[in-house]
Amino acid sequence: MAAKAAKRAVAVLRPIANGMGVSCLRGDCPQNLRFFARSFTIPAARPRKLIRLSPFARRHASTTSEPDKLGRTGLYDLHVARGAKFVPFGGYSMPVQYSDLSIIDSHNWTREKASLFDVGHMVQHEFSGPGAQAFLERITPSSLSALPEHNSTLSTLLHRETGGIVDDTVITRLADDKFYVVTNAGCREKDKAYLAQEMETWNGDNSPPVEWKVMEHQGLIALQGPVAAGILQQVLDDASSKALDTLYFGQSTYATIKGTDAKVLVSRGGYTGEDGFEISIPPYATDAIAEYMLDSAKDELRLAGLGARDTLRLEAGMCLYGHDLDDSTTPVEAALSWIIGKDRRANGGFHGDSVILQQLKKKSEGGGVSRRRVGFIIEGAPAREGAEIVDEAGEKIGTITSGCPSPALKKNIAMGYIKDGMHKSGTEVDVVVRGKKRKAVVTKMPFIPSKYFKAPSTK
């Protein structure tokens, strides 16, 4: 079965690799309006009628919210052929789920087997040149000097002065002077404007040169779940397949798909809390490689959409920009202090460093923050974005930013911002859903243990 699929992938890939045919460029395609619903902009605190399928694509799609301008990834046709329901998300028409599995089933499938997510709507960048590291260290709080080649780190692009989060991002060092950076689709225009401005300032300062390239139309898929590694090994050539055995969480490698000349960048990690990979693929090969994977692991691998992606990431305690993070939130408030590198804490030198370093100090030294991102488990009704968190006296002490019934825990989970002092695990509060107070407990995240493939401990 796998061999046959491999042959087909070769047949599909080779002629295109020789220079023919770009599949479906964004903007060139006829537009799909089928699943555009009218009510995506209704704020969470207002009542919603039945048949309102998705709360996605609300806050930060403003520049591209017109349905006739929605983009498509290179896998659009594959989604259609496999029964996707689409929603507008980050300016793209993206699958929210597929006809074969409900969101809960798809969620559970990912935790038990493996799922393939199209994340080609995300923005892939390359920063290179002698100034690349220093440039990225100016706009993020990450210790890139301590980041070995082919390792990655979660980071945040920061606003000057305020230290507010422009976007969250993953930065991978590809070489001494070359970095691969992935940012959110919903922030595409904002990030581009921000980066262009920062580049201009950088170049105006006569700093070492940096080249910034957005990898337009580059494919990106996420393969997630306990059997993801086995599935990926089946489709890689022997050398690449062997390399996966020692590719640990947070590391990346270039790999070749079996029987083809398609070189992909495989990064171990993801957005579900499971072992898995994100695979960056040249535009011409994205569709064929996705098909090849799906066909070579029919019993174990299914496509999954934004619906399951959202419940999976929430169980894993991960943020969704525009909901759990925004321009007015600093990494410290967002419980992301861990991304701030050791030497950065000592020396600063990044946007908003005076604000952020002050927040990192002890309260007795005038440090701390007024609100913090925490997890909650809520009794009764699920709390959604916008629900108020109140104390015993009914005073508002915070707001829920994401929430859903957890398919794994069968409890209602949520994250949100709560007044400092009330943020300790085990603190009992109330969350108001439809005018009624519901009991909630501040809970450590992730809500379920992560199952990353980590390097064996050297101790």
Binding site: P47, L50, P55, I104, A381
Partner: protein, 176 residues
């Protein structure tokens, strides 16, 4: 399609200026009429005599009057249940609650969404389907039968807003 979207937009604007009415959930105020009603149909605010046949609203609830016309049973349509996906939680009204047509009398939550259940008819809640609290998933199995949501003693003011018979409703959902 562009035309339809603009109609929907216009309808939304109309609805947002429509009179508001208190609901059993105190912090809400909501438009009391059908957001999706097309202005050209002139059906806004219409009041009609309740029919005995099962009726569907444009918001995908169904109601069925008892033969004596004094009570009615309310639920959500199979179309709605299918579109919502796995229902994980149902919020039921309290027995004895007085409601007006257009009020939210409960809510149904799936993994991804929370939706209000609106009643197209006023009255007093006489019975709720408590088994749904234990087994909300029944809504996906038999939404128009065993998984009814509430029974009302109707107040005689009749159905407010547009309702449809089964055939018309099916056509409505096909067009949606």
């Amino acid at each position: 399609m562009a035309a339809r979207l603009s109609v929907a937009r216009a309808a939304r604007q109309l609805a947002s200026s429509a009179p508001r009415r208190p609901t059993p959930f105190p912090q809400f105020s909501r438009p009391s009429t059908k957001i999706a009603s097309l202005p050209s149909q002139q059906r806004l605010f219409s009041v009609s005599r309740p029919a005995l046949e099962k009726q569907y609203t444009e918001d995908h609830e169904w109601i069925e009057l008892s033969p004596d016309g004094k009570t009615c049973t309310l639920g959500i349509s199979a179309y709605a249940a299918r579109a919502l996906g796995d229902v994980v939680y149902i919020e039921l009204p309290t027995t004895g609650l007085e409601v007006s047509a257009g009020d939210a009398i409960g809510a149904v939550e799936s993994v991804k969404s929370a939706s209000d259940i609106l009643t197209p008819i006023g009255g007093k809640v006489s019975e709720v389907n408590v088994s749904l609290e234990e087994k909300p998933g029944d809504i996906n199995r038999d939404p128009e039968g065993e998984a009814w949501i509430a029974r009302l003693e109707v107040n005689g003011e009749g159905v407010v807003g547009k309702t449809m018979g089964k055939e018309e409703y099916e056509k409505f959902t096909e067009d949606a």
